[in-house]
Symmetry: C2
């Protein structure tokens, strides 16, 4: 039996390194570190209204993440996979005394002059933020497992933006201090731990070209989820076209 002269199957899987490169290229092309809102935030050009709007809206994302991870675990028959995933929920929810990432986000909310109870209520979140974030939770609950896992891989690109954000906030805003930026500081170690496990899992288990393409599409989808949140924020609070029912500057201030 000779194999030469046989053209590669149309759907031959990508070699592992090429598959990983395709995933990483998504970050270069469309991760939300490229969005002008982040330049504005990190360079100190945001007004406090814009910062508050960002904190209020991103709360919906942050507080949905452990629900997204629970949705993922609700689909895993494999205890090993559930065990590996569980630390994500721990990171965000923490213990009853110490709290986790979500409570750290509320410290930021307090730091920027908002009533943390108002922020935690989710009142004032823009509908567009909700639509995008809820689409992510639904995606992880409903789509095939490899795609559901791959959608979390924006964490590959997160440490760079978090480093820039910590530096930028501390340099430019009087609200920034070790307590208010501690959410981002923790993510510098949490995200790489998650990525190591998940990237290896996806690279190993996506053995068909179709699975690889589904993983690439899932990561692309997730960058859309992040980008759409910043577009909505820009439109609402930089341009000042606040949609009906969303937070109005001055509402929800710390008492």
């Amino acid at each position: 039996m000779t194999a030469f002269m046989t053209p590669p199957a149309i759907d031959a899987p990508l070699p592992r390194a090429e598959f990983e490169a395709r995933l990483r290229a998504i970050g270069d092309a469309r991760y939300h570190d490229k969005h002008p809102f982040h330049d504005r935030l990190h360079s100190g050009q945001c007004s406090m209204t814009e910062v508050q709007a960002w904190v209020i809206n991103r709360w919906h994302y942050q507080s949905s993440i452990p629900m997204k991870d629970a949705a993922f675990m609700s689909r895993c028959r494999d205890p090993d996979l559930r065990r590996a995933w569980r630390s994500r929920i721990d990171d965000h929810d923490g213990g009853p005394e110490s709290g986790g990432g979500i409570r750290r986000w509320l410290k930021l909310a307090e730091g920027v002059g908002l009533d943390p109870e108002y922020v935690a209520s989710g009142a004032g979140v823009m509908p567009a933020t909700r639509f995008a974030v809820d689409a992510y939770v639904r995606f992880v609950r409903d789509e095939p497992l490899i795609a559901a896992m791959a959608s979390s891989l924006t964490e590959m690109f997160a440490p760079a933006i978090h480093t820039r954000r910590i530096d930028g906030l501390l340099e430019h805003y009087s609200f920034a201090n070790p307590e208010t930026v501690s959410y981002f500081r923790h993510r510098l170690t949490e995200a790489p731990k998650d990525v190591r496990f998940t990237l290896d899992w996806v690279l190993t288990h996506a053995v068909t070209r179709a699975d690889q393409e589904a993983a690439i599409a899932a990561l692309t989808f997730k960058t859309d989820v992040l980008w759409a949140q910043l577009d909505a924020l820009w439109n609402g609070y930089v341009e000042g076209r606040i949609p009906p029912g969303a937070w109005q500057p001055g509402e929800g201030q710390a008492r």
Copy 2:
């Protein structure tokens, strides 16, 4: 047994007329006829790029409506209710020769210089449009029946905007003619038929205050779905901040 001196129960249902007035007030407060994009469109201020972007993105909404209605019918045990609802799918899909509202939308797409196959492919639809529209389909599939029905009642407010749109397009744009505006012309008779049935059904069956409030919230949610689409359109194509992967002016033109 004396009833006087008894305060009304906290959750006493609203009288039918008041409940209807609450539903109608949502239109006055936040239906998307108030969005600046519609002023711009109906007064002839939109560039052809903006019109094309509107047609491409609203395609995702139009083409999802029969899926939304099928999702609704998939939950109805009552053949009478399914029968009453079925005409909505007929209106949008029509017969294989004649087509329905969806095919009429593609006539508009052709009229504004787009390749109808490109539009029908859904390529280039903004992620934010998808997130909003898909949230609507999910809502109708998952939420309680009264809320699912009430979310369709934006049709109460549609004839006025469609009349203004037909007039505005015919007055200001050379692409407008009886064929390209026929989608809207048909909606002038289809929507009131749907509303008569659904409004009466909701007013009659929402007998607790909680059900009434759920109906009001559902209709509010639906106005958010419509508004968010126009915010995304404005941000992307009036302000020119096109999100990654979305339609670029010049793509998908008629050949």
